[in-house]
Subunit: 257 residues, 2 copies
């Protein structure tokens, strides 16, 4: 069994289309590599009630929840206040976070005003997540990891977390690439999956000018079973007169289209 996780991206700018979220895919890859099963991701607006009910539901349903966004200094940054409400604890000015921001703003020459002091607030009982870029920390409360929305800062913070970020059993994954269409292979794919318990086979069609094909993604916790299933898929493609190869690279980005 792998621990399960959910991601909650908080921000009106994603929902109105102004900004394309980058954090779900980046975090999904990190969680996959650490053996954590991402079960669900949600994008919600700067809406107090929805943040509270979403965080409470996902926190109760999964081993960990990652939130992104809404921890800056401005009026639309309501994540900390609402997460505190979700946990039924007060917001406090975190002394260590406060000191880090005092030091940071002394160096920048900017005024550490009331708005910026808000970035030192956490729900009571939170453990800080260091911010190696711009000082203002994230934090962990219960099983909820509260991170910023700016992708470069979120990424630096997560890469810096070390043992604060738990891990599980890493899945194995192989991709079988072929130019045979998925509709031709479909009944065989279901049989290969059924013949290899614990292995899942995903079928992703791709299209480009003058060619089309299928990426068959085989994954599971047992490396031998994944390898055997991948070889069975190569044999399946051969039954239809096609060729296929097994690619063990992590395939980034989108299915070719």
């Amino acid at each position: 069994m792998q621990p399960t996780a959910a991601i909650v991206v908080i921000g009106d700018e994603i929902l109105n289309g102004r900004t394309a979220d980058k954090n779900i895919n980046w975090l999904a890859k990190v969680l996959y590599d650490r053996g954590i099963k991402l079960a669900e991701a949600r994008v919600i607006g700067d809406d107090e009630n929805l943040i509270i009910t979403t965080v409470q539901h996902l926190s109760a349903s999964h081993d960990m929840v990652f939130t992104s966004g809404g921890i800056g200094p401005t009026h639309d940054d309501i994540t900390t206040v609402t997460i505190a409400k979700a946990f039924g604890v007060p917001v406090i000015r975190h002394p260590e976070a406060d000191q880090r921001l005092i030091d940071h703003y002394r160096d920048t020459g900017l005024d550490y005003n009331e708005a910026r002091q808000k970035m030192a607030d956490t729900p009571q009982g939170a453990e800080l997540i260091d911010n190696p870029v711009s000082a203002a920390p994230g934090y962990i409360i219960g099983n909820v990891y509260v991170l910023p929305g700016v992708p470069s800062i979120l990424q630096a913070m997560v890469e810096n977390m070390g043992d604060q970020l738990p891990g599980g059993t890493k899945a194995h994954r192989l991709t079988v690439q072929t130019e045979v269409g998925e509709g031709t292979l479909a009944s065989g794919l279901a049989k290969v999956e059924a013949d290899h318990p614990g292995v899942s086979v995903g079928s992703y069609p791709w299209f480009k000018p003058g060619a089309y094909g299928t990426a068959l993604v085989v994954s599971g916790l047992d490396q031998d079973a994944v390898q055997n299933a991948a070889e069975a898929l190569v044999a399946l493609v051969a039954e239809f007169g096609g060729t296929a190869y097994i690619d063990d690279k992590v395939v980034g980005g989108n299915t070719p289209a």
Copy 2:
């Protein structure tokens, strides 16, 4: 009031990080331009129970729901079967969809086998959404719009929908760009928002080598109120000795980082 919508992206490949979703942002822009308020987006796996509960909840909470993914020919394409269960209706072989696919596969020379015939299935009572690219249709059942996962096909289908896609009152949006940091402006931003009822002010910091600043996004249904709030923000920036300009272009992609 604007009608509200939710998006449900269905597919393990998004959650395990293999594929970066492109459909949420693309649909978010379309909905924004049509005056529909996107209230929530979720990414879930190929999991029958979760698809059913998610679609039932969002269908009851919003004026419309758009799903993406899981309507292909293979064993991991379970969207149609699960949406039918969510609505408590049987799956039928849709005669018009069947005829379109018969014609399509006759032209391609590929076998219109049992797996491909599955793409002609819909929940009983569904209205087809044409697919100008690869014939296999999407459909509308109740207030749920069922679309494919491949971005290029989803986009062609939505652009082709015409009056099948409802509309609402389009929001107005202006962006005020400045190189003054959001922490400096924060208390003034809250005041500008409070002074302009019906207008929301979002604050998005950006960073690049040697510079930083803030994009202030002003939006609302009343064009004059949005313009007045944007001008108030320019005046606010000037109070702090900075310069700002109002940009009425739709700002695509991400906040500069």
